[in-house]
């Protein structure tokens, strides 16, 4: 008898077909991986099973019985538990309190009794937690164990794990996999959502690959391999990608070597990032959101000091310089979020002057004429629709981005950090910004372009470095780059 059977599931969000005629089944006591790129419909399918979404069409059977699940509460009653990437724990409460929360009968809550119950459950399922510890003191991996225990405590026989490894450090991943394998032996059935081929191959019995909302294939692990799965994921042949050396470029003037940044709980958010950029070259950094681009921007714009590694411009070490000093060293910096890199309440002119306030000071007072005059010049040059005295927050996104760009470019930098330069802009403004970047490139500026827009990276870059989980997966010459190749690197499917 199948633990779960989902037949002909359809689900649309407006014009987007998130699930289209999806068939999926889970056997008793197996780990079944749902593999696919971001947006392939994995999470949607599981949210339908867990009662968070309602399918437009289709049938669900649990243990052979047809069910209609309208809410997580009904899913739990049917023996389905789900652990998401974003934990639903209450940090100031203890582990035991979190586990029993919403699942207690009666009025009186005996701290000792629930701790005893939770300790017993912890032992029974082999998931080690300290019932009396406060959740806020736990590491991410420990919190995840609490989430799993919470589901099991509610008698879940079917456990959905949504990208469980995304938040874990490697050692924690190992511990998680051990627990899952043990639990499956005792009869639990697990659905494991992931886009990481290595993990899927490591832990699952069967694999269902979703692509664009449809099932590409369901295969046994023993009968497949990573390359075949990658092919199913992106739907094409995965021809070999020629990778360049990170510093294989003509005249490097800007160089990162071994830049590493420790995040919370010891997970490295940037891991040994190295690359070079030459004069008159655009190095695009592509990556799925949350893979370290944001942190990389913070490091190279001077907001955060890396744990290890060095950053050099023309051989000069600038790793430890403050943001203002970086500008003086020839780095033009733009923020990844124009609203957070500017002061909305101050005027356009003040925003333009703020970074180089010393140049606008005379006898201890602000040289307001120079601030205004320089702003007028810049506004004209960059075709910004605003006057110097306008409050920056009143500007449109495109004009605000021009201010941000103008602030960096007006200093004639040798290196420009362009982070998400066209995010949220309309077509006209996007065009303007991209042309401006190409002009700078022609002028001889070395440009680091960080963007989540893959088309933008492909259109502008000379070389493309792909970042995945804080590591540079490879550098590809743009002439040979296609969305598919880059996509595979971005999904971590190809190891170098």
């Amino acid at each position: 008898m199948l633990a779960v059977e989902m037949k002909h599931i359809y689900k649309s969000f407006g014009p987007v077909k998130a699930n289209h005629d999806v068939n999926f089944d889970l056997e008793q006591g197996e780990i079944h991986a749902l593999l696919g790129e971001n947006g392939a419909g994995k999470t949607t399918l599981m949210r339908i099973l867990y009662g968070l979404y309602k399918a437009d069409m289709g049938e669900i059977f649990i243990n052979g019985e047809k069910v209609a699940i309208h809410s997580p509460k009904e899913a739990i009653a049917a023996g389905v538990g789900m652990v998401t990437q974003h934990f639903t724990l209450v940090p100031p409460l203890t582990v035991a309190e979190n586990v029993v929360l919403g699942y207690t009968n009666g009025v009186v809550l005996s701290q000792r009794e629930i701790e005893k119950n939770v300790a017993a459950a912890s032992e029974k399922f082999g998931i080690l937690v300290n019932p009396s510890a406060l959740v806020k003191d736990l590491s991410v991996g420990e919190r995840q164990r609490v989430e799993i225990l919470k589901a099991l405590y509610r008698n879940a026989r079917i456990l959905i794990m949504d990208e469980p490894t995304a938040v874990l450090v490697p050692q924690e991943v190992d511990v998680l996999f051990e627990s899952l394998l043990r639990l499956v032996k005792s009869g639990l059935s697990v659905i494991f959502i992931s886009h990481k081929l290595i993990e899927v191959m490591a832990v699952s019995d069967r694999i269902t690959v979703l692509r664009d909302g449809k099932v590409a294939n369901t295969v046994k692990k023993s009968e497949t391999n990573q390359v075949e799965l990658a092919k199913m994921m992106v739907g094409r042949e995965t021809f070999g990608v020629r990778l360049l050396d990170a510093c294989e470029t003509s005249e490097p003037i800007y160089e990162l070597s071994g830049v590493t940044l420790d995040g919370k709980h010891g997970k490295k958010v940037l891991d040994d990032v190295s690359f070079c950029v030459s004069r008159g070259e655009i190095l695009g950094i592509a990556g799925v959101s949350g893979n370290g681009q944001g942190e990389l921007t913070e490091v190279i714009t001077g907001l955060v000091t890396p744990t290890k590694g060095s950053i050099k411009i023309e051989g000069r070490d600038i790793t430890h310089l403050a943001p203002g000093q970086l500008s003086d060293a020839g780095i033009g910096r733009t923020p990844q979020d124009r609203h957070e890199g500017t002061i909305g309440d101050l005027s356009v002119a003040e925003n333009l002057a703020l970074e180089h306030i010393k140049d606008y000071t005379q006898k201890g007072l602000l040289d307001r004429k120079k601030i205004r005059d320089d702003a007028t010049t810049i506004i004209k040059e960059f075709q910004i629709k605003a006057s110097p005295g306008d409050q920056l927050r009143k500007l449109s996104g495109g004009n605000m981005q021009k201010v941000v760009l103008a602030r960096a470019l007006s200093r004639k930098p040798k290196v420009l950090i362009a982070s998400q330069p066209t995010r949220g802009l309309d077509v006209g403004a996007t065009e303007y910004v991209r042309n401006r970047l190409l002009e700078e490139r022609a002028r001889g500026t070395a440009i680091v372009l960080l963007s989540e827009d893959l088309d933008e990276v492909l259109a502008l870059s000379d070389r493309i470095a792909v970042i995945y989980e804080g590591r540079i997966m490879g550098v590809v010459p743009s002439a040979e780059a296609t969305p598919e190749k880059i996509g595979l690197l971005m999904a971590g499917a190809v190891q170098h």
Binding site: L326, E340, T342, L354
Partner: protein, 338 residues
């Protein structure tokens, strides 16, 4: 932008309408009440000068609050910093008996400023180093200094002649000169006005002021521009404390000539109202301080003439603050018909 300038006027009008309800409940005619509130105090020279006397400490505390708020530091502790300045002044005024005014007065101002800074130091330090919410800590420091002063006045500083809990009287040289004979208007008012100009220049015309406003308006943006936000905030917090300390110096050396525990009628807290009404602009602060001074003076008149409680003045002030804050919030929205 024009709406921004209109807010104080609209707020005052709305406050009059709202508080009329309370005036009617107290059994008086609102028009008569407001005539006594606003017009009567200004119609005699003596009471008009008294309005300025009342406004003097409020200019100081309003500026103090403005300075901190502009940098994004919510200093609720001007009251305590005022008392710290007053303690320093009380010590100077009763100790250096043989120094001339030209030396004693500046000495009082410097030490009063320093004492205010000192009292602001701990919360500011906790904020910058440990991110402890300054609203709570600055407020708590106000209670602490009241106990400290009570201990001082009941202990070493108890008046040796009368036994009252008040510090020894100031010597003549330490007393601020009266600006106009037979009025209580004193040197403190002039110092307050000079400070208005200085604070205006610092906030609006110096590089530090710009960085301070940047840090106050957007911490992330300021960090990106390379501003040391913590240092800026720390300096703003300390200067704010110093200015509040001057309020204490001014009150004790201009009016009382000795330290008592009722020195301030909540000027530190009213300073928050003044700063808000004044739109965190030093010029606006001085106008707002005079307006609040007027209401304070007027409340006495209204109470005397119409027999309504003198607390009506507090009600008007509080209502005015709430109305102004609501308007500042609401000006970010537009009513749209769809």
């Amino acid at each position: 932008m024009w709406t921004r300038a209109l807010i104080p006027v609209a707020a005052v009008l709305a406050t009059f309408v709202i508080t009329s309800i309370f005036i009617i409940l107290a059994g008086a005619n609102p028009f008569e009440a407001y005539y006594n509130f606003i017009i009567v105090p200004l119609s005699s020279k003596f009471s008009a000068l008294e309005v300025l006397v009342k406004a003097t400490p409020l200019i100081f505390t309003g500026l103090a609050v403005t300075f901190a708020f502009a940098a994004g530091y919510y200093n609720i502790g001007a009251e305590g910093q005022l008392y710290a300045g007053a303690v320093a002044a009380a010590w100077v005024g009763a100790t250096f008996t043989n120094l001339p005014a030209i030396v004693v007065v500046p000495l009082m101002l410097v030490l009063g400023f320093a004492a205010g800074m000192l009292w602001a130091l701990l919360p500011a330090f906790l904020k910058v180093k440990l991110k402890v919410d300054e609203v709570v800590t600055t407020l708590l420091m106000n209670s602490i200094i009241m106990y400290f002063i009570s201990a001082l006045l009941n202990g070493p500083w108890r008046d040796p002649e009368t036994g009252w809990p008040k510090s020894p009287e100031f010597f003549e040289a330490a007393r601020f000169v009266q600006l106009i004979p037979k009025s209580r208007l004193h040197l403190g008012f002039v110092i307050a006005l000079i400070l208005v100009v200085i604070v205006f220049i610092v906030i609006k015309r110096t590089p530090f002021g710009l960085q301070m406003r940047a840090a106050g308006a957007s911490k992330a943006g300021a960090l990106f521009a390379g501003i040391n936000v913590n240092r800026t905030m720390l300096i703003a917090a300390l200067v704010s404390g110093g200015i509040a300390g001057l309020a204490g110096v001014s009150e004790i050396a201009g009016i009382h000539y000795h330290l008592i525990s009722e020195l301030s009628g909540g000027y530190g807290y009213t300073g928050i109202i003044v700063a808000t009404l004044g739109g965190l602009n030093p010029i606006g602060v001085s106008v707002a301080a005079m307006f609040i001074g007027l209401i304070d003076t007027g409340a006495q008149t209204v109470s005397r003439v119409l027999g309504v409680p003198v607390y009506l003045g507090d009600v008007v002030q509080s209502t005015l603050l709430l109305v102004t804050l609501s308007m500042l919030l609401l000006q970010n929205y537009r009513i749209k018909r769809i």
